[in-house]
Amino acid sequence: MPLLEVENIDVFYGDVQAIFGLSLTIEEGQTLAVIGANGAGKSTLLKSIAGLCSPATGEIRFNGERINDVPPHRRVPLGIALTPEGRRIFPSLTLEENLLVGAHSKRSGHWNLATLYDTFPLLADRKNRLGTNASGGEQQAAAIARALMSNPRILLLDEVSLGLAPVVVEQIYSALPAIVEQGTTVLVVEQDVNQAMKVSDRVQCLLDGRTVLEGKPSELSRERIASAFFGI
């Protein structure tokens, strides 16, 4: 049984439809990258899985159970954690407090303050800094660590590389193997195609709210990805 199944969902923002009949499946332990241009529906997809958006039609199943009507705060105890676009670090809390809030659901597992400081050394040095004063890279690392504090079964990463220097992006992605090693399923949304190809077992490319291409990174040529990405 796949860990997560998204089946034929339509998602709207008011009257505007963002996702059209989208389906997606991830097996436990897999890393799936969803790529696509701005407005392709990638973030909306992740928000729907985390519960911030609700699909008008279709079904989302986690571990075989339909979760369409489960509110976001109840999805965290099930093992779903989202690192949202723009990181959304709590500005008036220190980075360590941000991490502690991430443990609110009290799921136990490998990840705690000590193991996360080990995996993200830059956080250990900056733990007493207020969220608002942290750099983009520190905020992104803290946002991922905060999501991991709930010891999720699936980690949803939205646009990790956005607005960060390439060297910082490398640094943050270098933590991914340690996360996957714990058996955590990862769904990465990226505009940075190279980064997405490098870390994932499978790639799914969206265009205007629909899947236009999917496959293993090794089987997809640059040309096919480029044409799917831009819809040409």
Binding site: G51, P71, H73, R74, P77, P91, S92, V101, A147, S150
Partner: protein, 289 residues
């Protein structure tokens, strides 16, 4: 020396204002909700204390053991039913709902207790005072109120800073949606914040009822003083609220010393000056989310 006395009395009065404003400050800080029924709820608590003292004969301080939990429960139910729904509508909804609530409460009290002035009888404590210098004496009860006010602000601050739930409250205040992604049920956090806030209103209301004469319409002026304390101190800052209360108290008492019939007016003027020149208050929260 009479100026020094006025300042001391003003500071002590400020403790009552801070106590009255603590709940208002907390509710605004956690959910950006201005509770216009705050003053009316304080007067409800004052009447509750009065009835308990008159009917059962228990000492006024003992009524707190009943009034505070009852008011906290009222706050919890209020948030779970009316206010959480109102917060999901546009920005004006919570203001209208709490305003309506204030009107209803005031009229209910008029119906039950008439418009006559009342107060809670604390016996000899009401007149007791301590001589500090030959020219300055402070009332024992106002001093107790001041100490309780400072203690409440400090305890609330500690609760928000150090406890898991307090941290969740601050996180929810910063970013409600991100807090939901951490598994925090914001409706529960809000209900808890309002329970604490209205419980504190209960505490403040009983102290107010001992200290001054009150009637059902007294909620309006109570709300205004509490509101001024919050604004002077800076929205969302609890220590700011304590300072705001003290500044307001000093302005009123020193003002009355200079212009005997215009003390309250001077308090308002200080408030307006702060609003004009430091709209974020004198001690704003360091971070704006």
């Amino acid at each position: 020396m009479q100026w020094a006395n006025a300042i001391v009395q003003g500071v002590i009065l400020g403790g009552l204002y801070a106590l009255l404003a603590a709940g208002l400050s907390l509710m605004f800080g956690v959910m950006r909700l201005v509770n216009l029924a705050h003053g009316a709820l304080a007067i409800v608590a004052a009447y509750m204390g009065m009835v308990l003292v008159n009917k059962t004969g228990i000492p006024p301080f003992a009524t707190l053991l009943i009034v505070v939990p009852v008011m906290a429960l009222v706050g919890w139910v209020l948030q779970r039913t009316l206010l959480n729904t109102a917060l999901n509508r546009q920005a004006l909804a919570p203001i209208l709902v709490t305003f309506g609530l204030a009107v209803i409460l005031q009229n209910l009290m008029l119906e039950l207790f008439t418009a006559d002035n009342q107060s809670i009888d604390v016996g000899s404590l009401a007149g007791a005072s301590i001589q500090i210098t030959p020219d300055i004496a402070v009332g024992v009860f106002p001093l107790i109120t001041f100490v309780v006010g400072v203690f409440v602000i400090a305890a609330l601050q500690l609760y928000l800073a150090k406890t898991t739930t307090g941290r969740a409250m601050r996180a929810t205040s910063d970013d409600r949606e991100a807090a939901q992604l951490m598994g925090i049920d914001h409706r529960h956090i809000y209900a808890l914040a309002t329970a604490i806030a209205v419980g504190l209103v209960g505490l403040a209301g009983v102290f107010l009822g001992v200290r001054t004469q009150f009637n059902p319409t007294f909620g309006d002026v109570t709300l205004i003083f509490a509101f001024e304390a919050v604004i002077i101190g800076g929205l969302g800052s609890l220590w700011g609220t304590l300072w705001g209360g003290i500044i307001l108290g000093v302005a009123q008492v020193v003002g009355a010393q200079a212009f005997p019939s215009s003390g309250v007016l001077l308090g308002h003027i200080v408030f307006l000056l702060v609003l004009a020149f430091r709209p974020t208050g004198l001690f704003p929260k360091v971070v704006n989310g």
